[in-house]
Structures are given as structure tokens and as C-alpha cells.
Point group: C2
Chain length 451, copies 2
């Protein structure tokens, strides 16, 4: 049976299985979900076993477990390490989901659930592609290893140690990753760059108690005033980050790179309209694709303090908080960036405000050479299934572990994304377009046969 017919026959069963996995709320950031994360890991291990993989193990770590499996019966052929993650982002604001995030639902050819596209849906394709080849042909054309972690959404704190301790076991000729997106429907892309990441939390404390704004207003520091004043110093009015040293290590955008970005023919006006924005906004002199693909950013992800209820409360709040993440490019050092931001905040700290900074995640940006045969063959595989050659792009997101994987294993990272840019990953109503579910299975089979 050809693979298209095989996958068509299996489609209902495959979707049923994936929905089972998606209904496990494996939110790695929230400790209350620790057991759910464990269940999602075990589900992956069981599914790999049923697919015919060997040496399946759920490897405990200091955090969430790593699922490993392999099938190594193609001597003389390349070894492909398939990486993915079974953990997901938090789901709030819950009220904005049209259907509950952990009750998967198919509407209009799209599968809605937290994790549908990021990344359970995409790594599931690899398990089922390998299973298909084994069932159809009894053997694989290459050696395959799976490494599926449960901490990608919290910057993979425990995977580097696992990689270092198991370099031989994980050794591969390429690391294959599906955790990115097509450029748009029908336009496949292979990401040759990912932005780095660093995070911090900032708190301002003033008085030891909330105060009445009548009795004290105008005479004491207000934690919210101090925080907004401080946060407002982080950008200039054109959206450029004002932190001294922030742009150190950011490569100058060459005309070649600009030409490569321009090939995407990205429709900024359509994006603006889709997002309901009056205008896009970012550093002057760069296109949207350049801003997100080749420029760093510092984003406020959350700010809160004082009264949030209905009506008015005349309070001077004693504390206020902000959550910040940066996306980094080129050689920007996340540790150095966090130090520079800390220095900036201390230098600009308003009168009477006690400042606390907690530094969090740190990951370098990643870039790879698109001329490597393992990447060119990925473009060939896309072309066979999608009828059009994949573009090599730079992705604005971060998969903090990719640089480490590629470096420790000394193998190129091949990022074949099957998501779409509007699939609401990290937001309410995350979904996965099933057209790419179907084509993704075929593309992975093609790739494993080509390399």
C-alpha cells in the first residue's frame, strides 16, 4: 500500500490517539501539574513501544523526565536523532478559549488543544511516520533515535546534563526537529536560525503595607508609579531597547540576508489586518520578517500591582511586579544581557523604591548553514510532498536546547516545521491544521528515505 493510502486508513485512529495525549495537561511551568507531566511522558513511551521502537525508557531528571527510544538496524546508514517535547505552555486566560484547552476538538479541519501544534502534534507525526515505515516495510532506511523532553517550555534546564552524560548513546548525523512553522499555507520552510532567550522578574516594594491614598497620597512613594517609570525606561519611543550594551553581539544585517528575507514576500498588511492592528510596530529600518528573525527584543509579558477588582479602590499599593523576557540573536550572551538589564534597572530605580530582580532562563541564539546536505535533503522531501521547495528562514521563536543539541552532538539541526504562523501557540485557541498533519507524515517518511 502506498503511504498516502496507509495514512488515510489510519487517520481516525491516529487523531484519536493524539487527542488522548493532548487531553493530558502537561504544563511544565506549574508544579501542580507535575503528575500530568509524568503521565504525558509515560504516554509517549507507550506509544513509541507500540510503534516498534526499542530501548524505550522514561529517564528521570531533577525536573521532568526525558523519553528515549531507538531503532538501530541500518548499519552503514546515517543516524537521525528526532527531538521534540511533550510539555505545554500555561493556558490562561482560560475564558478566551472557545473550547477547553485540554478537551481536544476538531473544527474546520483544525485540531484545537493546548499543545496541538507546540509540540505534541508535531512530534507525534514522527512517531507515526516511523511506525508506518516499520509496518509497511519491516525495517527502517536509517537508524533512528527519539529524545522527547518535558521541559522545553521552561528552557530545558535538565536536558544539557542528560546530553553530556549520554553523548555516545545519542550520537547522530543530524538532529531532526519539528517545532516550527511553514511560512504560510502551502509554503514550507526550514528554519536555519532561532532566537535565544533570557528571562527575569522585577519587583518593587515601597511601604510595608498598602496605604490609603487620601491620608498618604502625594507624600509617600507608590510602588506602581515606581514600576511604570522604571519599565518605561527600557525602550525608546521607536521601540528600540534602551539598555546599555543590549545590542552587543547583534550581527549587522547583510544585503544577502535581507535578500533572503525578502524572498518570503511576507505580506505585512495582511498580518496587520489579521491581528486587528492599526499599525505594526518595531525598530525603524527593518521589515517585520527582519525584526522577528534577525533582531533582538525585550518584552513585558506581565505587569501587576494594586487593585484589579470592579470599581474603585483608593489604595497606594505597597508592591508591584513585572515579568520580562528577551529574544536574542547572533552572539548575544544571555547572561551578559541579564546583567546589563539588572544594571540598567538599578541605575534607573526611582526614589523610595526597593528593587528585587530574579533572573531566570538563559539560552543563546542558534544558527546553522543551509547548504549542509542534511538540510538540502529536507528541502527535497518538502518539495516532493508540498510541490514547492522549502525556503530557508530565521525563526523568531526560541528552542533553547537546539544550540546545545547541535553543539554537544556535533550534528546539524534540521528544523522541519509543520505548524502555521497563526496557530496561536502560547495563546488561547492553539490549534494544528490537519492539512499539515497529513502532509507532515508523508514528508517525514520521504526525508527518512532520502538521507
Amino acid at each position: 500500500m502506498d503511504y498516502q493510502s496507509y495514512f488515510a486508513n489510519q487517520r481516525d485512529e491516529h487523531l484519536k490517539e493524539l487527542q488522548e495525549w493532548l487531553s493530558i495537561p502537561s504544563i511544565s511551568a506549574l508544579s501542580a501539574h507535575k503528575e500530568d507531566v509524568n503521565r504525558a511522558a509515560q504516554w509517549a513511551a507507550d506509544t513509541l513501544t507500540r510503534a516498534g521502537l526499542e530501548h524505550v525508557e522514561v529517564h528521570p531528571t531533577a525536573g521532568h523526565p526525558i523519553v528515549y527510544a531507538d531503532h538501530l538496524h541500518a548499519p552503514g546508514k546515517p543516524t537521525i536523532l528526532i527531538y521534540g517535547h511533550y510539555d505545554v505552555q500555561p493556558v490562561d486566560p482560560l475564558n478566551l478559549w472557545e473550547t477547553p484547552p485540554f478537551e481536544p476538538s476538531i473544527r474546520d479541519g483544525k485540531l484545537y488543544a493546548r499543545g496541538a501544534t507546540d509540540d505534541k502534534g508535531q512530534i507525534f507525526l514522527h512517531i507515526k511516520a516511523v511506525e508506518a515505515i516499520l509496518k509497511q516495510e519491516g525495517e527502517l532506511p536509517v537508524n533512528v533515535k527519539f529524545c522527547i523532553e518535558g521541559e522545553e517550555e521552561v528552557s530545558s534546564p535538565n536536558l544539557p546534563l542528560f546530553l553530556n552524560d549520554n553523548q555516545e548513546k545519542l550520537a547522530a548525523d543530524a538532529v531532526l526537529i519539528s517545532d516550527t512553522a511553514l511560512l504560510e499555507k502551502g509554503k514550507p520552510a526550514i528554519s536555519t536560525g532561532l532566537r535565544g532567550l533570557c528571562s527575569l522578574e522585577v519587583s518593587i516594594n515601597t511601604a510595608n503595607t498598602d496605604l490609603h491614598s487620601g491620608s498618604f497620597g502625594g507624600g509617600v512613594p507608590n510602588a506602581l508609579h515606581a514600576l511604570v517609570e522604571l519599565l518605561a525606561t527600557l525602550h525608546d519611543k521607536q521601540g528600540r531597547v534602551s539598555v546599555d550594551g543590549f545590542y552587543e553581539g547583534v550581527p549587522v544585517l547583510s544585503q544577502d540576508m535581507r535578500d533572503e528575507f525578502a524572498k518570503q514576500n511576507f505580506n505585512e498588511d495582511k498580518l496587520r489586518q489579521d491581528l486587528g492592528l492599526d499599525e505594526l510596530f518595531g525598530e525603524e529600518g527593518f521589515t517585520f520578517v527582519e525584526r522577528t528573525g534577525a533582531r533582538p527584543t525585550l518584552e513585558l509579558n506581565g505587569v501587576y500591582g494594586g487593585f484589579q477588582g470592579e470599581g474603585t479602590k483608593t489604595v497606594i499599593p505597597k508592591e508591584a511586579h513585572a515579568k520580562i523576557t528577551c529574544r536574542l540573536v547572533g552572539d548575544q550572551d544571555p547572561e551578559y544581557i541579564l546583567d546589563r538589564i539588572e544594571a540598567h534597572l538599578i541605575a534607573n530605580n526611582p526614589i523610595g523604591a526597593k528593587l528585587t530582580i530574579v533572573k531566570g532562563e538563559k539560552a543563546f541564539a542558534f544558527n546553522t548553514d543551509h547548504s549542509h546536505p542534511m538540510l538540502q535533503k529536507a528541502a527535497d522531501a518538502f518539495e516532493k510532498v508540498y510541490g514547492t521547495r522549502a525556503l530557508f528562514t530565521k525563526d523568531g521563536g526560541s528552542i533553547p536546547i537546539v544550540a546545545t543539541l547541535s553543539h554537544v552532538l556535533n550534528a546539524p539541526a534540521v528544523m522541519m516545521g509543520f505548524g502555521l504562523p497563526d496557530e496561536n501557540l502560547h495563546a488561547p485557541n492553539e490549534h494544528f491544521n490537519l492539512e499539515n498533519f497529513d502532509k507532515g507524515l508523508l514528508t517525514i517518511v520521504e526525508y527518512l528515505k532520502l538521507v
Copy 2:
């Protein structure tokens, strides 16, 4: 029996009654508490009836009811209208209360509960003082009217109409109000000024959905960036409000007024230490007492947007919100001030941000002449009970209805406060020092006999 002995005998019963009232969560700002507010009004009416007052009524309004009662059997003697309120502020953050806000508890000679000092505890003193005179002497030395409302904490939207419709019924020679504080333990004060108030809510909307900071960061507006940038324009670094026109109508502080403020011998260093602050903060060139008594202020009471949970969420939030109140002095017009703030926000609105402004409460500041006999006699009454003459002060808080009461009834407002400045009104662990509960009862009896 002298009044001291009478009140000593009744003390346990009085405290039991007050605690019953305090356990009704009559939060006027929250619609879920509408029935509680009604219960608190009925409780006041029943207590006034039992005290011997006449014509007791719970007067319905478009919002929460007004409780009226009188005792008019002293022909030729002055008529005193006693004003107070039975509604209370919201209670969050609930986790900071040592005992639940609506389970009154006496510790260390202090009665802890929401409303203990603001204002149930203070208006309760008046009911019990009038009851005491009636029980001891069978008649009152003056005519007395009570007007106890349930919307003071939301700026008394419905009392003005009631006042206008009932000018004759409410006519009085003085309006007596206990909703302020002593300067400190043993140092009574009569407030001859209150700050005005206006409020607004500001919202910023950007995209029509929360966005992933990897795929979009640096290329789209972030609602939180826009909000903190906008809010930071409201003050300069010295804490002065930067809104054009904000200081119109603010009187120049005369040397006489500065001398009057200086008489308070206010200990700024002790306040700073009590609040755990490194330094006090406010407009340059003014003392704390001047800043809160004679200068206006614009305070952020709440700011929120994006992720507030545990850990990191790499989201670009689509909306962000702020709650703002101003305290006004002199002739500042709350409506004009709100218009000026609106104009400022529109003029400074960052690129790509959709701004929504909802204007709320509006109240002028109030000032009265301390040489009026009705105020001088209040100082006499304090002197008899506390052994020291009350200072005439300017209060930083707002009782929005005082200006209206005094104006519509053409009578001076006599503000005899029995609270203390550190009793956490509008904050967790609100309480009422029982020393002033005891002395307050005696002071009110003295005052009613003196006028």
C-alpha cells in the same frame, strides 16, 4: 449616674452590638454585596429606633439606601444633622488580614474589622451617645437628625438628589461628621478641609489576540509597553503631576497656613520608620503634612495586564489596564481635571495602541472656617474629654459629600474624627482603637450639651 460610669456599664453590650454590624460585609463597590448593604442599612435603622430616635426610615435610592432618623423636641435649640456611612471598602488582598475582615476581633485594646474606624465604628458612637442622653435625662439638649448613607465609598452618587429633595427635612445649624482621625494618640483634631476626588480607568488594546513573543516579539505593539510608557508620562521624576492644567485652582500655600500645619509638629522620621520606607517622597518644597493636606495628587491604584502566574509565559498581551484616582484641593474642578488627564493620555498615546478611558467619580475639595462657633465648641468638647484642645487641620482624604452637605444645607461641617492615622482604613487589618471609642462617646455627649 455620670456618663463615664454609664458607658463603662454598657461597654460590653455596645461592643457586642458594633461587632454585629461590622460582621455584615456591606461593600458598596461590589454588586455581589447588594443584599449585605441592605442588611447593614436595616441594622442601622433598628439600632436608631431602639436608641429612641423617631421617624426612622430606610430611604431607597437608585443605588444603596439612606437611613434617616430624628429627635426634634428641643424648640429654640440648634439642630445638629449627624452624617455618617454604613458602607465599607473592598477587602482584598484578603491573605494579608490577620483575622477575617468580617469576623470582628478585639486584640490589644483595638477592634479589628473592615469598617471598624471607617465609618461604622465612628457613626455608632453618635447613635450610642444620643441614646445615653435620652436614657439618662429623658430628653436631648438639642434637636438631632441622623443621615447615614451606604455609598460614601463610591462617592455618594445618590445622596445629592436626596439632599435637594429633602432640604427642609434635613435643615440644620451644623452637620456633625466623624469620619476622620486624631492627629495621633491623645492629640485630637478637627478637620477644616478635605481633598476632592476624581477617578478614571484606562485600557490599552493592541492585537485582537495574545501573541507568542518569539514569533511576533519586536514586530508588533505590546499593550503593556504602551501602558507603562503612557502612565510614566503622568508624573515627573520629582513626583509632580505632568498633566497640563492639573494645578489650576490649587491655592498658593500662605505662610499662615504653613504655620498652622507646622503646629502639628508632625514627626516625618517616625512615619518613615513606621512604614518601613527608606524615604518619604513627594513634591519638592512641601512637608508631608502640606503634601497631603494642601496639595493634589494623582495615584495609580491598580495596573495589570499579561501573565501573573508562577514562572514564565512568553506572551505579548493584547490588553493592559490601569485604575487611577486623583485627590484635589482648593478650587480644582474634578470634571476639568478628568478632561485634562484624558487630553494628556490621548496626546501621549503610543503608536499602535487603542486607548479607552472611562471616567468615574467626581468631588470638589471642601474647606470651612475654623472660627465658626459650632467648630470652636467642638474644640471645647474635645478639651473637656481629652484634656487638650483640638488642632484645626486639613485632611488628605475625601468625603465627597461634605461639600454638598454643607452647601445644600447652608450649615458648617464639624468634622470630629475619632480614628487614628495608622488604623489601616482601606487596607488589610483595619481597626479602631477602643480608647477613642470610649472618649468619643463622652466627647459627643459634651458637644451636644455645649452647642
